[in-house]
C-alpha cells in the first residue's frame, strides 16, 4: 500500500438546515488520479473547499500528507496546486505574468520560478501566447492558462474542480492528456466533474457522490460490477408486437425489455452469445428492423441503478 496523501474521515458540513456533506470518508493514495463524480449539488466542491481549509466544517477530520490540514498549514499548502471551477486570472497581466504571479505565491527563488513558469507554458501549449492578455485568449486557451497558474509550482497534489466546463472538445482532450502526464510525472490528482466519460477516461479510482454522501467507490470496472446490467442491446424498429416482446423477455440472460421512441432496448445480465440469440429471435419473428447495437454499462448506469436517477441532465 502506498503513501496516503489525503484522508478524510466522517466529514459533516451543514449550510444552516441543509446538510451538504454527510459523514463523508475518503482515502487517496499517492500516484492516483482520484475522480469525484456526482451531479451538481452533490457536494464535490464543498468537499474540495473543506479539504483546502477554506470552509469551516461541523464534524470530521482532514489530513494531508499525514498532517492535519489547517488554514495556516503553509508548508502543506506549498505542496498543493488548485485549479478552481471558475477561471481566476488577472486581466491586466499577460499570460507569462499571470503564471509568474501565481507561481510566486509558492516559489521565492527567481531563477527557479522562471524555469517553472517556462515549463508550465510549454506544458499547456501556450508558447505562442505568452505576451497575450487573457481577454485576447479563447475559452479553451483561457482554461489552459488557468491550469498553468495552478500547477506551475510543481505541486505533489493537484486538485482540479471541474476544469473542463464550457471547453471545446479539442481543449478538453488537451487538458485530460495534460492531467495524465502530470500524474505520470508523480503528482496525485483529485478530479471533480459531472462528466462520467472524463472520469472513466483518466481516473484510476472513482467515488460517486450524491446528496453529500459517497454512494460508491472503486475503479471503473469495480463500480460497473456493482450493478446487474452487463450489456444493453438496442434495435431500431418502426413497430413491435407483444409476441416479439415476450420472445425477447424469454431469451437467456435478459432481465428487462423496453420499447420507447422507435427503439427496443434489451437489458442483459451476464452470459455469452447474447447478441446472436437476439438476432435469431428477430429473424424467426419476421419483423423488419434497422440498426442493432450493443453497449456496455456506463457510470451513468451505475448511478441510475443505485440512485434511480440520471447522473446529469441529458443534453
Amino acid at each position: 500500500m502506498g503513501e496516503t496523501v489525503v484522508k478524510i474521515a466522517n466529514l459533516v458540513k451543514n449550510y444552516k438546515e441543509l446538510r451538504a456533506l454527510d459523514h463523508l470518508s475518503l482515502t487517496i493514495e499517492k500516484g492516483e488520479i482520484f475522480g469525484l463524480l456526482g451531479p451538481n449539488g452533490s457536494g464535490k466542491t464543498t468537499t474540495i473547499s473543506c479539504l483546502l481549509s477554506l470552509l469551516a466544517y461541523n464534524e470530521g477530520t482532514i489530513e494531508l500528507f499525514g498532517q492535519p490540514m489547517t488554514p495556516t498549514s503553509y508548508d502543506l499548502k506549498a505542496r498543493i496546486g488548485v485549479i478552481l471551477q471558475n477561471v481566476a486570472v488577472f486581466d491586466e497581466l499577460n499570460v507569462y505574468e499571470n503564471i509568474d504571479c501565481f507561481c510566486g505565491l509558492y516559489i521565492k527563488d527567481k531563477a527557479r520560478r522562471r524555469q517553472y513558469v517556462d515549463e508550465a507554458i510549454e506544458f499547456v501549449g501556450l508558447n505562442d501566447f505568452t505576451g497575450f492578455k487573457p481577454k485576447k485568449l479563447s475559452g479553451g486557451l483561457l482554461r489552459r492558462l488557468n491550469i498553468a497558474c495552478g500547477i506551475a509550482h510543481k505541486p505533489e497534489l493537484i486538485i482540479l474542480d471541474e476544469p473542463t466546463v464550457a471547453v471545446d472538445p479539442q481543449s478538453r482532450n488537451k487538458i485530460l492528456e495534460g492531467i495524465e502526464e502530470l500524474n505520470k510525472n508523480g503528482a496525485t490528482v483529485i478530479y471533480t466533474t459531472h462528466y462520467m466519460e472524463e472520469v472513466e477516461q483518466i481516473c484510476t479510482r472513482i467515488a460517486i457522490m450524491d446528496h453529500g454522501k459517497k454512494i460508491a467507490e472503486g475503479t471503473s470496472g469495480e463500480l460497473k460490477r456493482l450493478i446487474k446490467n452487463t450489456e444493453t442491446v438496442t434495435i431500431e424498429m418502426k413497430e413491435v408486437n407483444n409476441a416479439l416482446l415476450n420472445t425477447m423477455k424469454g431469451l437467456p440472460n435478459v432481465y428487462d425489455v423496453k420499447w420507447e421512441a422507435g427503439r427496443l432496448k434489451i437489458y442483459l445480465a451476464g452470459g455469452e452469445h447474447n447478441l446472436l440469440n437476439i438476432m435469431d429471435a428477430l429473424k424467426t419473428s419476421g419483423t423488419g428492423f434497422g440498426q442493432v447495437y450493443s453497449e456496455l454499462p456506463t457510470l451513468n448506469d451505475v448511478f441510475l441503478e443505485i440512485t434511480g436517477k440520471e447522473l446529469r441532465d441529458k443534453d
Binding site: 477554506l54 470552509l55 478552481l84 505574468e97 501565481f102 505565491l105 521565492k108
Partner: protein, 480 residues
C-alpha cells in the same frame, strides 16, 4: 513574497483602465475645464468691464466715489464736485498709483455713464449698457428691483457674490489704509478726517454723505453674468453704506464690529496664496482624486478573501499568508494613489499655474496622506459583506462624489452653508479635510491648522485599516 506581490499589484493598478481614466485623465480634463470656465474670472485683468448707465434723480457723492473707484465714469452733464469728494477721490487714486507695480492693474469693473433717464433707456435698448442704476431720494439703500433668485443666474451669482465681496472689502481697505487708520479696530473715519485737518463742515458733509443714503434701483433687459455683477455690486454697496454710516457715528457702538465681521470675513495673516474660488475648486479636485483611492483599494480584500472571489480562493490556498498579500495590496494601492495625486498636483501647479501659496512640497505631503486615507477607506469598504465588486465600485464612486459635492467641488457655496448649519459635517468630511489642508497652506502663515488636518487624515487612515483587518481576519468561511 511580499515584494513579488507588490510588484504585480503595482503593475495591475497602473494598467487598470479605470485608474488611468478616473485618477489621471478625469481630474486633468476637469481641471482644464474649470480653468477655462472660471479661471479668468478671478485673474487680474480678466474681468470684463460692464457698461452701466446711472440716472441720478438725487446727487449721491458716496455712490459716485464708489463707482469711480470701481471703474471709469463719464457724464453727459458736467457738475461741480465738493471738496470732500475731490479729496477722497484724489487720495485713493494717489494711493493706487503709489502701490502700482506696473505689472498689475486694478480691473475696471464698471464703465458708468451718468445720463438722463431717456438716454439711459435708449442705451439699454441698443445694448450699449447692461443695466440702468437709478439713484433716487430716500428709501432703503441699495435695494434692487431686479428679479431675485432667478434660476438661470444662480450659478454665476455665486461667483459674483464672492467677487463682489472681495471688491467691497478692497474698497474698505483702501479707505482705511489711505488714512493710516485700522477700521477693524473701530477708529472712526471722523477721527481720521480731523487728524487730516479737514474742517467741521467737511466732517458734517462726510457724515451727511454716509447717512443720507439713496434708494438705488436697477433696470435690466435680460439676465446674465454682467447683469448679475451689477445687481451684486449694488447689494454689497448697500452693506458698505450701513457699515460706514455706523463708523461715521463714532464707530464704537457695540454692533459695529459685528457688522464689520460680515464684510471682512476673516482677518488672519495671509500668505502670498490665492484664496479665490477657482483655486478652491482645484483643491477640491485634488481631494477628490485622493479619495478615489477608495475605488483602487476595493480589490485588496476582494482578492484576499476566499468567499469574495476566485482570486481570493486561489490566494487563500497558496503558501503565502493572507497578511502578506493584504499588506502588499495596501502598499501598491498607496503607491498608485500617491502617484496619481502627485500627477494631478503637478499638472495643476505647472500646467494650469494654480497658486499653492509657494508651499508645493507640503501640498504633495497633504495629497499623499489624503491618498493613503482614500486607500484605507477602500480597503474597509472592500472588506464589508458579500456585495458584488461592481456594486462596491458604484457605492464608492457615489460616496466620493457626494463628499466632493459637500466640500464644494460642484457648488461653491455648499461648504459655507454646511459650515453655518452643520459644521461637524465639514469637520468629518474626508474630502473637505484634504481640501482644507491645502486651503490653510495657502492662507495661513503658520502650518498649525494644516498639520491639524493631516492628523485628522492619519486618524481616519488608522481607523479604516484597523476595521479592514478586523473584517478580513477570518481564516475559514461558513460558505463560499
Amino acid at each position: 513574497m511580499f515584494l513579488h506581490n507588490l510588484k504585480y499589484e503595482i503593475k495591475m493598478n497602473l494598467r487598470a483602465k479605470e485608474v488611468i481614466i478616473w485618477m489621471l485623465l478625469f481630474p486633468c480634463v476637469l481641471s482644464v475645464l474649470y480653468k477655462v470656465a472660471f479661471g479668468n474670472i478671478y485673474e487680474n485683468g480678466g474681468i470684463k468691464t460692464v457698461p452701466v448707465a446711472v440716472v441720478e434723480n438725487r446727487k449721491d457723492d458716496m455712490f459716485r466715489i464708489m463707482m469711480s473707484w470701481m471703474g471709469e465714469s463719464k457724464s453727459t452733464h458736467e457738475e461741480e464736485e465738493s471738496n470732500l469728494v475731490k479729496w477722497l477721490t484724489k487720495t485713493i487714486k494717489e494711493k493706487e498709483e503709489n502701490e502700482s507695480t506696473g505689472e498689475e492693474e486694478k480691473p475696471l469693473l464698471f464703465h458708468a455713464i451718468y445720463c438722463r433717464e431717456d438716454e439711459a433707456y435708449r442705451l439699454l435698448e441698443d445694448g450699449d449698457v447692461k443695466g440702468i442704476i437709478f439713484v433716487d431720494a430716500d428709501g432703503v439703500p441699495a435695494d434692487t428691483d431686479a428679479k431675485k433668485d432667478d434660476a438661470a443666474d444662480k450659478e454665476s451669482d455665486e461667483e459674483i457674490t464672492e467677487w463682489g465681496s472681495e471688491a467691497v472689502k478692497a474698497f474698505l481697505d483702501e479707505l482705511g489704509e489711505a488714512g493710516h487708520a485700522d477700521i477693524n479696530e473701530g477708529i472712526s473715519a471722523a477721527d481720521y478726517l480731523t487728524s487730516e485737518g479737514l474742517t467741521l463742515e467737511d466732517m458734517v458733509e462726510f457724515k451727511d454723505m454716509l447717512n443720507s443714503s439713496s434708494r438705488l434701483s436697477l433696470k435690466i433687459k435680460s439676465n446674465g453674468m454682467e447683469q448679475s455683477s451689477i445687481k451684486r455690486f449694488l447689494e454689497m454697496y448697500g452693506t458698505l453704506i450701513k457699515i460706514t454710516g455706523k463708523l461715521a457715528d463714532g464707530g464704537n457702538s457695540p454692533g459695529t464690529k459685528n457688522v464689520m465681521d460680515i464684510v471682512v470675513i476673516e482677518d488672519v495673516k495671509l500668505t502670498d496664496g490665492n484664496t479665490d474660488q477657482f483655486v478652491t475648486y482645484m483643491y477640491n479636485m485634488i481631494a477628490m482624486v485622493a479619495l478615489f483611492g477608495m475605488t483602487v483599494a476595493l480589490h485588496i480584500a476582494l482578492y484576499s478573501e476566499a468567499n469574495l472571489s476566485d482570486f481570493g480562493a486561489r490566494r487563500s490556498c497558496s503558501a503565502t499568508p493572507k497578511f502578506t498579500t493584504i499588506m502588499a495590496g495596501l502598499c501598491a494601492c498607496c503607491f498608485t494613489q500617491i502617484f496619481c495625486v502627485s500627477v494631478c498636483i503637478t499638472f495643476q501647479a505647472l500646467v494650469l499655474r494654480v497658486d499653492f501659496g509657494g508651499r508645493l512640497p507640503l501640498v504633495y505631503l497633504g495629497g499623499a496622506i489624503g491618498a493613503i486615507m482614500g486607500v484605507s477607506m477602500g480597503f474597509f469598504v472592500g472588506a464589508i459583506g458579500r456585495i458584488k465588486y461592481e456594486a462596491k465600485i458604484g457605492i464608492s464612486m457615489a460616496v466620493v462624489m457626494t463628499l466632493s459635492f459637500m466640500s464644494g467641488l460642484m457648488v461653491s457655496g455648499i461648504k459655507a452653508i454646511l459650515e453655518m448649519h452643520a459644521p461637524i459635517v465639514n469637520d468629518l468630511n474626508p474630502v473637505a479635510i484634504v481640501a482644507d489642508s491645502f486651503y490653510y497652506l495657502s492662507v495661513d502663515a503658520d502650518t498649525g491648522r494644516y498639520f491639524g488636518k493631516l492628523a485628522a487624515m492619519c486618524i481616519y487612515t488608522v481607523i479604516f485599516i484597523a476595521l479592514g483587518f478586523l473584517l478580513t481576519r477570518r481564516r475559514k468561511y461558513e460558505s463560499l
